[in-house]
């Protein structure tokens, strides 16, 4: 017998100003399945699920829960109907404890004393059952990303949701953490939950999902059973026919040819005996030394929170090391300001791009020239047109830079914050 879908979205349409984020999208979720929602950046995955969760209002379309048409006006409605969501960018109060974050917004037994023993017991039981160990009294801001993710899932489980949406839950996890997450998901499904798993990583979808829906540019392309489909089918569906998959950076296969790195050449970046002690007096980096040679991709591995971020910031000159030496092209650059480091050919893409990487309200073009705005091409071009404005040369830079990524957002002058991941 065919199973009845527990949830159905029919013909959903959503626009942001002129941008059509979702165009006639339908989606259905069967009870007890893990349903992958696959699509590239900006395909509309988050938007679709935000509509289901009541954060965005749909322009058109209907939502059915257990065959009955429902209206969702806000997250409260969604939660009341047993729909929970783990957001792409965690929604947590960073100066609250884990426990406070989990119980926030729910009815607390001792609401006028805030003695949280009953809640603690309930959460601890959930941690046990689903294999999500967390220290409930830790303050969120002190936790690594992987743990914060567990908190986010616990929040939904604590509310007893029947349908759980996970928006790109694996982005910041180590492979081990991803495996642990998948195991937890299996336990949840066996417990009667249905799960929507958003991602743009094909391998994850194939390893954990039962069915997969592909979105592309705000339209749904297809829904397939995992058993019926090969990787290639999905790649085609995700990127469309016109794109050359073999050359796409996005789907680069494992068979890459590596160039020879000449380790006898002069290193382009050298760290010697770098130490860093944080403001709180905690040592973050201890005697770190390495050389990076021209043409090399130099990987740094480790579980989040073990100093990678600090190392990157020290190497990029954003944080000065407590002791040690940094050389770029053989010259000592240890104390130099970031601007000078950039001028010497260094570039830094931070871990947390939302907070450190750009100005959300400035346009794409402005963001791109930020930092190089003192240099010749932009500066002269701006002054030669006799205008103060940097818009023209900046847009040119933006259009050359963004071509490969093929962003569908109309112009280089849209505020950067409106983009998806």
């Amino acid at each position: 017998m065919e199973k009845q879908p527990i949830l159905e979205l029919r013909n959903i349409r959503k626009t942001f100003d002129k941008l059509v984020a979702l165009d006639d999208v339908s989606f259905s979720l069967l009870p007890g399945e893990i349903h992958g929602l696959l699509g590239g950046n900006g395909a509309g995955k988050t938007t679709l699920m935000n509509i289901l969760y009541g954060l965005y209002r749909k322009d058109q379309g209907d939502i059915y829960l257990n065959g009955e048409k429902i209206e969702i006006h806000g997250p409260r409605d969604a939660l009341n109907r047993g729909i929970g969501m783990v957001h792409q960018h965690f929604l947590q109060i960073s100066n609250y404890t884990v426990l406070e974050n989990i119980v926030l917004g729910t009815g607390i037994t001792h609401r006028y004393t805030m003695k949280l023993e009953p809640e603690t017991r309930k959460v601890e039981e959930l941690c046990q059952r689903f294999g999500l160990p967390v220290d409930l009294n830790a303050v969120i801001s002190t936790l690594p990303i992987g743990t914060r993710q567990k908190v986010e899932i616990l929040k939904a489980l604590y509310r007893g949701v029947k349908i759980l949406i996970l928006d790109e839950p694996t982005t910041n996890l180590t492979p081990q953490e991803v495996d642990a997450l998948f195991e937890s998901l299996r336990v949840m499904v066996n417990d009667g939950l249905s799960i929507v798993f958003i991602t743009h990583k094909l391998r994850e979808v194939l390893s954990v999902c039962d069915r997969i829906t592909v979105l592309r540019e705000g339209r749904n392309i297809t829904t397939l059973d995992r058993k019926d489909a090969s990787e290639d089918v999905f790649v085609r569906a995700m990127v469309g026919e016109q794109m050359n998959i073999e050359k796409s950076v996005y789907f680069a296969r494992d068979t890459k040819t590596f160039g020879e790195v000449d380790t006898t050449a002069a290193p382009i970046l050298r760290l010697s005996q770098v130490n860093l002690i944080s403001k709180e007096g905690v040592p973050r980096l201890k005697d770190v030394s390495f050389d990076i040679f021209p043409g090399e991709i130099f990987g740094i591995a480790g579980v989040a929170g073990n100093g990678q971020r600090e190392l990157a910031e020290v190497a990029a000159g954003i944080v000065p090391p407590t002791s040690g030496k940094i050389e770029q092209n053989g010259k000592d650059v240890t104390g130099l300001p970031v601007a000078e480091r950039l001028r010497r050919g260094l570039s830094y893409i931070p871990e947390d791009r939302l907070h450190d990487g750009f100005l959300p309200k400035a346009s794409v073009a402005q963001n791109l020239i930020l930092g190089v705005h003192r240099q010749r091409p932009t500066a002269t071009a701006a002054s030669s047109t006799g205008k103060r404005s940097t818009r023209k040369p900046a847009s040119r830079l933006a259009s050359t830079t963004s071509k490969p990524a093929d962003r569908k957002n109309p112009a280089a002058i849209s505020p950067a914050a409106t983009f998806s991941g």
Binding site: P75, I93, N95, L104, Y112, T113, M114, T418
Partner: protein, 309 residues
């Protein structure tokens, strides 16, 4: 000894407008609404509170009127910033000017210009039975006007509410991260409205205190910057009710000292003494501001469908 008791009594007495105005500011700020109209709202509260009690012959009704005026200003602030999503500082400053203007206009309209200023009776001293008999503490703490007690109890209640109740936990979340609060079904808009309104009412009451305790009448600009000081004090108090209460004691102490020095007749132009509270503020801000914790979303507006990062 006698002077010390008198001094401390006066400090407690003068603390009230600071406490009320700062707790009002703090309450709105806890949901992200940063009121900067205190000076205007206090002046309006002083003016209206005085006028109503003069006309009705009842200070309590005057206080209610001042609170109502403050509440309306709080409501306007909430409406323009939360519903219409307009800039908080811009709206706050406009409300400040409106408050100042109304405060001088209303007496002229209602009473007109008189030779000798009309007077209302000041608030009576309320002795608490038994407690007021305790040596030292009795006269300092328990022989004060009703609003002294009110402001202390209010501060304690606010602390309890914010840190020991479920609603308090939710309220603080709104000022830290409204998107998170919203995603958990907490009504962000409602929280912002009621805190702004109640906060405004407290600020209005702080204004009414001035004619009802200090002067018995309304004079132009009689707040003398206490509204602005209240903002500084709120920061200094780390947006937390108990620290604000302690901070108010300090501000009041400085104020009383400056006033005393004036009375004794120090060989210093009195303008210098008037500067003391402000200088003290600046000093304190410099010393404590770096450590002070501010609600993360203070002064911003939340829009569910916009990406406010």
């Amino acid at each position: 000894m006698e002077t010390l008791i008198t001094f401390l009594r006066l400090v407690l007495l003068s603390m009230v407008p600071f406490v009320l105005a700062s707790q009002g500011t703090m309450l709105g700020g806890r949901t992200g609404i940063f009121n900067v109209a205190q000076e205007g709202i206090m002046l309006l509260g002083a003016s209206l509170g005085f006028l109503v009690s003069y006309q009705v012959g009842n200070n309590f009704v005057g206080m209610l009127a001042a609170m109502a005026a403050g509440a309306v200003f709080g409501l306007l602030l909430a409406y323009f910033t939360t519903t219409l999503k307009m800039n908080q500082f811009f709206i706050g400053l406009s409300l400040f000017f409106i408050g100042v203007g109304l405060s001088t206009l209303l007496p002229k309209l209602i009473i007109g210009i008189t030779l000798s200023p009309p007077l209302i009776p000041t608030l009576p001293e309320v002795s608490i039975p038994l407690l007021s008999q305790i040596p030292l503490l009795g006269p300092i703490l328990f022989r004060q006007n009703g609003l002294v007690y009110f402001s202390i109890v209010l501060s304690l209640l606010l602390w309890y509410f914010l840190y020991r109740t479920q609603r308090g936990l939710e309220l603080r979340a709104v000022g830290e991260n409204p998107m998170t609060a919203d995603s958990l079904g907490i009504n962000v808009v409602r929280a912002r409205y009621w805190t702004a309104i109640l906060g405004g009412a407290l600020i209005g009451l702080a204004g009414a205190y001035l004619p009802m305790v200090y002067t018995g009448t309304f004079t132009e600009a009689m707040t003398r910057g206490r509204g602005w000081l209240a903002i500084a004090l709120t920061f200094f108090g780390g947006w937390s009710p108990l620290t604000i209460l302690t901070g108010s004691l300090f501000f009041a102490g400085v104020e009383v000292l400056a006033f005393r020095a004036q009375v004794i007749g120090l060989a210093l132009p009195y303008q210098y003494l008037l500067m003391v509270p402000y200088l003290a503020t600046i000093l304190i801000m410099i010393l404590t501001f770096r450590k002070a914790r501010v609600p993360a979303f203070l002064g911003q507006n939340y829009d569910r469908e916009k990406r406010n990062l």
